[in-house]
Symmetry: C2
Subunit: 124 residues, 2 copies
C-alpha cells in the first residue's frame, strides 16, 4: 500500500522542481526521452497532484500543465493565481499575484483555472 520511490518518479520530480515553469507531458517526454513512458508520466504527475506537491492547470491550448507548488502550505493549497503562456516561446508560468474572484450568491468554488496567453517580456 505505501508508495514507492522509483527512478522515474525522481526524474519527473527533479524536472518539475528545477523548471521555473509549468510543464506538459510533451515537454517532460522530450527531457526524459525513453527514460519514461507517456502513460507513466501522466500517472506520476497526477499522483503528485494527489500528494499536493504539484498543481495542474488546463491551458487555453487545451493541454494539461503541471507546476511544482512553491508557496503552498502543508494543507492550505491556494492556487488562485493566473498562468501565462507565451505564444512565441511557449513557456507557461505561474503569475505571482493571487487573485480572488467574487462569485454570485450561493456559488461555491472548487477549482480555479486562470489562464492568459500573450507575449512574455523576452518575446515582446
Amino acid at each position: 500500500m505505501p508508495k514507492r520511490n522509483t527512478k522515474t518518479k525522481q526524474l519527473i520530480f527533479d524536472s518539475l522542481k528545477k523548471a521555473d515553469t509549468a510543464v506538459s507531458q510533451e515537454i517532460l517526454q522530450a527531457e526524459l526521452g525513453n527514460a519514461a513512458d507517456r502513460a507513466t508520466i501522466y500517472r506520476v504527475l497526477n499522483s503528485f497532484c494527489d500528494d499536493g506537491i504539484v498543481h495542474k492547470i488546463i491551458g487555453d491550448d487545451g493541454k494539461q500543465y503541471f507546476a511544482y507548488c512553491l508557496n503552498c502550505a502543508e494543507k492550505k493549497h491556494s492556487h488562485n493565481h493566473f498562468h501565462f503562456r507565451c505564444l512565441q516561446c511557449g513557456k507557461v508560468e505561474c503569475l505571482p499575484e493571487e487573485v480572488d474572484c467574487k462569485l454570485p450568491k450561493g456559488y461555491h468554488a472548487v477549482n480555479f483555472n486562470g489562464f492568459i496567453s500573450g507575449y512574455c517580456s523576452s518575446c515582446s
Copy 2:
C-alpha cells in the same frame, strides 16, 4: 465570397442566443440531433467567433465552450470575465464581473481565459 444564411447557421445561432449559458458542441449536437453534423457545428461556431458575435472559452475540462456575446460593443470585445462550470449540473455560464489581471512588466496579454468550477446556487 460573401457569407450565406443557411438553416444550420440559424439553428445554431438560435440555440446560442436562447441559452443563458455557454455551450459545447456536444450540447448543441444533442439539441440539433442529425440536423447538423459535428464538423459543421464546429465550423459554424468558429465562424461566429470570427464574426465577433460569439466568444470561445476553454473549460477546465479541456473542452471548448461557446457563448453568445452579450455586452460586447461593435468592435470592443472585452471578455475578461470568468466562466463558471457547475460540477453537478454541468452548466457553464459567464460571470458578470469583468476582471483585470496585472501582468509582470513587459508582458502583453492576447487571450484571457478565466475559469472556475464548483457548485452553482441551484446545486449547492
